[in-house]
């Protein structure tokens, strides 16, 4: 069933009785060519691109809960390609291009809105690094504009330019960045994959990975054994546990990242704005809620909930940067479980088990990566060769020290990001 304004009109005039499920609810078959473990944004996108780009449709996505129930459903919806280092730079650039045609590709309105991402800086040193990053973005073919204080003031006059603790020196603006409706991304990919023949199987937890002679042969699940020639693990938040089923230890720690949304308000914030002196980023959703977040709680956690000190810290950043939102009220907070890698950058790679592929370590940047991650992971699984824009997301970079991607410069080891 194709979606369009006409379709809505027709259904509206006939009592909305013609709508059909956006995806089937199939029982798992006993065997697939390829099994993707994880029905989140990345897993669904992987399945979609396996079918669309590589013609692989004998594919099942196994989801232990409901589709899109992980981090794709609990984030701050920011999309951007404003990285500095080789590896991240080309990958996110590719991902952003996929975002730009996503709705038409999926026939599903994910409300991608390129309202621009503004990163503020508050010292000469921060400006120099912002410039370096902006130049990397342009080198990569993406867009960036360096604004001085007055330029920032013209764009976002509601910031506190005078009383805040850290003065605003300027900002790096990324016009093509923006936001998207997070759930819709998962649903759009799910519907697209389903329409191409992929089986999306919910309430199906993987309990074991079958390996014979160094080769993956299938998975054990709560809904029975499933044979597969190829298995992709893409389960942010449970990566270590699933990898352990294949005898692997990963360079991953699981951490909690909180986010917040306020009651609906008439438009006040048009861009995505980030604060350079504290982890704080904010945008306003189409429904009017201010959506914002901050840094990790910093302690390892599998509980999708945060604690007050970080929540308060985020609110404090809001109050020093843009006290005009002081009387907005926080309606809901939530937490996502982040796969934190040592250098803050992801992993898309083969494993030592033939036919077993790994996609993890997206830290707190996974949402914007969804299209690119799915595309590159599908390429790796289908062809056995890394997709060029993701070729640096190697698992062995920590052991060799080659190609570490520590964007923040806080250290290529755990708990420093």
């Amino acid at each position: 069933m194709g979606f369009s304004g006409w379709r809505i009109l027709r259904e509206g005039l006939t009592g909305n009785r013609g709508w059909r499920p956006h995806w089937r609810d199939p029982a798992p078959k006993s065997s697939y060519d390829t099994v993707i473990i994880g029905g989140g944004g990345h897993g669904l996108a992987t399945a979609y691109y396996l079918a669309r780009e590589h013609g692989l449709t004998d594919v099942a996505v196994l989801e232990k809960g409901y589709l899109g129930g992980g981090n794709v459903g609990r984030n701050t919806t920011i999309v951007r390609a404003n990285y500095n280092l080789p590896g991240n730079s080309e990958f996110y650039s590719h991902s952003l291009k996929l975002w730009e045609g996503l709705e038409q590709d999926l026939n599903f309105n994910a409300m991608m809105s390129q309202r621009g991402v503004l990163n503020l800086f508050h010292s000469d040193g921060q400006r120099d690094y912002a410039a370096r990053r902006g130049n990397s973005m342009i080198n990569q073919g993406d867009d960036a504009v360096l604004l001085d204080r007055e330029g920032v003031r013209r764009m976002v006059p509601y910031l506190d330019f005078d009383q805040g603790r850290f003065p605003i020196y300027g900002g790096l603006f990324h016009p093509r960045g923006g936001t998207a409706r997070h759930d819709a991304v998962a649903w759009g990919y799910a519907r697209g994959a389903d329409r191409r023949g992929v089986d999306l199987i919910q309430n199906c937890a993987v309990t074991g990975i079958d390996i014979e002679g160094g080769r993956v042969t299938g998975v054990q699940t709560t809904r029975g054994a499933i044979r597969a020639r190829r298995v992709g693990i893409v389960v942010a938040g449970r990566s270590s546990q699933v990898a352990a089923m294949a005898g692997m230890r990963l360079p991953i720690e699981s951490h909690i990242l909180q986010a917040f949304v306020t009651e609906g308000l008439k438009p006040v914030i048009d861009h995505v704005v980030t604060f350079g002196m504290g982890h704080f980023y904010i945008s306003q959703s189409d429904k009017g809620g201010l959506v914002f977040g901050g840094d990790l709680d910093f302690h390892a956690s599998y509980a999708a909930r945060g604690n007050l000190p970080m929540a308060e810290h985020v609110m404090e950043a809001a109050m020093t940067l843009m006290p005009v939102i002081g009387k907005a009220r926080v309606l809901r907070s939530w937490g996502g479980i982040m796969d934190m890698s040592p250098d803050g950058s992801p992993i898309i790679d083969r494993t030592e088990v033939e036919g077993l592929y790994l996609n993890c370590g997206w830290c707190y940047g996974g949402f914007k990566a969804v299209p690119g991650s799915g595309f590159s992971f599908a390429h790796l699984i289908a062809t056995g060769r890394p997709h060029e824009p993701a070729a640096r997301f190697r698992l062995d970079r920590f052991a060799t020290g080659r190609g570490l991607m520590d964007e923040e410069g806080t250290g290529a080891q755990h708990n420093l990001h």
């Binding site: 309105n109 309202r115 690094y129 306020t262 189409d286 005009v324 907005a328």
Partner: protein, 970 residues
Amino acid sequence: MRIEGRGRVDRGTPLRFRFDGREMEGFGGDTLASALMGAGVGVVGRSFKYHRPRGVLTDGSAEPNALVTIGDEPNIRATMQPLFHGLQAVSQNRWPSLGFDLMAVNDLAAPFLGAGFYYKTFMWPQRFWERLYEPMIRRAAGLGALSGKPPEEHYETAFAFCDLLVIGAGPAGLMAALTAAQAGAEVILCDEDAAPGGRLLAEVEDVGGVAGHLWAAGMAERLRGLGVRVMPRTTVTGAYDQGTYGALEQVVPAGVHPGGAPRECFWRIAARRAVLCTGALERPIAFRDNDRPGVMLAGALRAYVNRWGVAPGRRVAVFGNNDDAHRTARDAAAAGLKVVALVDSRPDAVNLAGDVPFMPGWQVTQAIGRGGLRAIRLAGPGGRGRMLEVDGLGVSGGWNPSVHLTSHMGARPVWDPGLAAFVPSEAAVPGMSVAGSARGRMGTAACLRDGAERGVEAAGELGLRASMPDLPEAGDDLLRLRALWAVPGKGRAWVDFQNDVTVKDVRQAASEGYGTVEHMKRYTTQGMATDQGKSSNVVALALLAQATGRDIPGTGTTTFRPPFVPVSIAAMGAGGRGKRFAPERRTTTDALSRAMGAPMIEAGLWYRSAYFPREGETTWRQACDREVRMVRQTVGVCEVSTLGKIAVSGPEAGRFLDLVYTNTMSTLAEGRVRYGLMLREDGHVMDDGTVSRLSAHDFLLTTTTAAAGQVMRHLDFVQQAYAPRMALRLVSVTEHWAQFAVAGPLARGVVDGLLDAPMGDLPFMGCRAVTVGGVGARLFRISFSGELGFEIAVPARYGESLFRALLGRAEALGGGAYGLEALNVLRIEKGFLTHAEMHGRVTAFDLGMHRMIAPGKDCIGKALASRPGLVAEDREMLVGLWVAGDRAPLAGAHLFAEGASPVSENDQGYVTSACWSPTLEQWLALGFLKNGRARQGERLRMVDHLRRLDVACNVAEAVAFDPDGGRMRG
């Protein structure tokens, strides 16, 4: 409409207020909602999507409809807003007026705006989304508007501690608090209302022989006497780990200027135990147009009649599926209202309301009256139908225990089929128990008993001996009910009032495959409005269960996340207002430097002088160039107290330092200073600095300003974890010492003249204890400028005085003060490093310092610094860059081979620091270049797209000036 002789408002205190400009009158004790109802106002707001006119639905914080703007605060619940004289409230989400809202056209288009319609359209043509559709949607969406100004009032956060936190001051909460307090526990009792009593405030019911609300007020007094901290207007918003609770106190209502007091306070309460006594929230029944103004929850209608003496009209009906609805009919009739019908969907129900028309087995099928309820349509047994004229309808679909806080830590409530509601699971929040109707004990007597029992239990867990108190006599009505979620029939029936989610929307979501509760909620937006689904979640879940052919527990549960009620950013973030986000650190010469006209710039938490302008200088460059030349030619003085200073003392201090620095420190001679490099365990550079050996056992480390905190944490870790047996201890002495660099060819004279005894032949990289004016001081011969340099440290109280003395002497010799800008130029000329270069991703190898990793010993980071990727030839290495011509190089520019196009594949490196060198009369830069050490002399292209720079530069040694270091050694 006011009901004479009813309610507990203070009729002796009339209060004038305005709503949308119209002046009205209410009374002391009114809420804005009750005052509006008393003044005959039926329509108080508009719904989110269809802009349907709405009246008050509830009498509490779950209100989805009656949201107004008061002063500069949007989205104030009229049901929670105390009335005061002069209050001005304005309705929201309508244009041009509440009565005539153009956006109500959406309601006519409702067949096309069902669940998830926007996911299926607005995609063509592609560019129209951002240019047309989305801006349109954004303007239409949202509720109230922010004022565009920062809050004028003070907000605060605070901490409180107790043995037992009792959440809710209804019958259960009061008894729990009493029991525990009598046993000697320290108790905090919070309630969102200004008065204690909870549901008793809304009832006509005796407790212990007196009216319930009076009994509650008496209890609160008694509790205060027992030392209980009673916190009215304080809503517990979240349950967090280890007994931490968040709570929002409304100190003064919206619209009242609090003077010096805060408007709100966000409390963090640490409680050893807690009892949740939050009662229950009534839920509606869905039927056609059940959102008409005048249709409200039955318990709310009863509260308006009993507590505030108001009603939506004189002719009312009550529609319920349970016994409690009968009380509303009874009380309404007792108050003199005309009760047209008590409609009970249960055919076998028995009238408990007395002399009112009773219609068992009937259901209300439609509410009629767009701008205010005029009539209801009913369907009865055997297909009979009726229509009744009414101007108020109370609806009760049953009561949901307020389990919200029990799910904040991940636990899910469990389905109680008898109540047709969710009740808390056991031990949902460690240390918290639940009492009263919050766990499904619905009658007043049951609540009193349950509260007391939970109080005894909590006291026991606290190690106190409590005994059951005498329970006051009270009624104990059972809540008998038979579930009814939606009345069958045509038309739209509302589930989520604010977000305009109807029964059809829930069913459509199910038919489109969004059959899990999370999918349904996200697809329809049910439960996402400002009430967070307090009145709609269970109904929606039940409808979803029906639509998907499952039972309710098999369909899912409702979960809630903090906060229980919305919390203003100003309250929770009060600690960050203005400059409070981070402490300010001021050096000893801060005031003096400002007085000298020096602009101050942030360096971490510190403020440092950028430069010291002199007359005639109009740009920072002029001052900076002069200060650089001054240091190179005569002498300059600069405060460097912000660098971290750490004392390490003990017989094994040297051994310890060997572990944390790449180079060997244990061999350092007394009275000597050595440059040191510190790695992180991942083999990258953490920081650099100097190590001075003051005596056999005493070392003094310096760190960069930026990394001082990180290094201290790291050293504490290494000492406590890796060297707990070594005889040494360490402490930061940054704050004790004020330190000044004195640099330039004439530096010796400036310093020597101040010392009580001449320094003699203090060698380069030497240090010693000295006295200045009889004050113990430390003198180091080190240089970050490349000139003959000293740093002299005195106890901080003398810092400003010493600075003045140094300046006096320097100025006499043609020198003076210099700031951070000149300091930066001086060090770039010398190729010395700051965190512009040590940016976290560089190795000692990149800096050309790999030989500083001493081969004969272990150190932090050594093993992993040897990974092949960290010592590869193609790594970006530190180089100097000389730019010809008059274009300034820019830090942040990238490097390319000459003739190569400036794109990622050709990227060869980047610039980290750049300056005009007045010494060399040359633009200089430092940067990192692939295999840079092997590329000396190569000509490169330096490109900064952002600032349109594209210049040629030559690769050089990082040290541009005085490469042999003769000047600083001399």
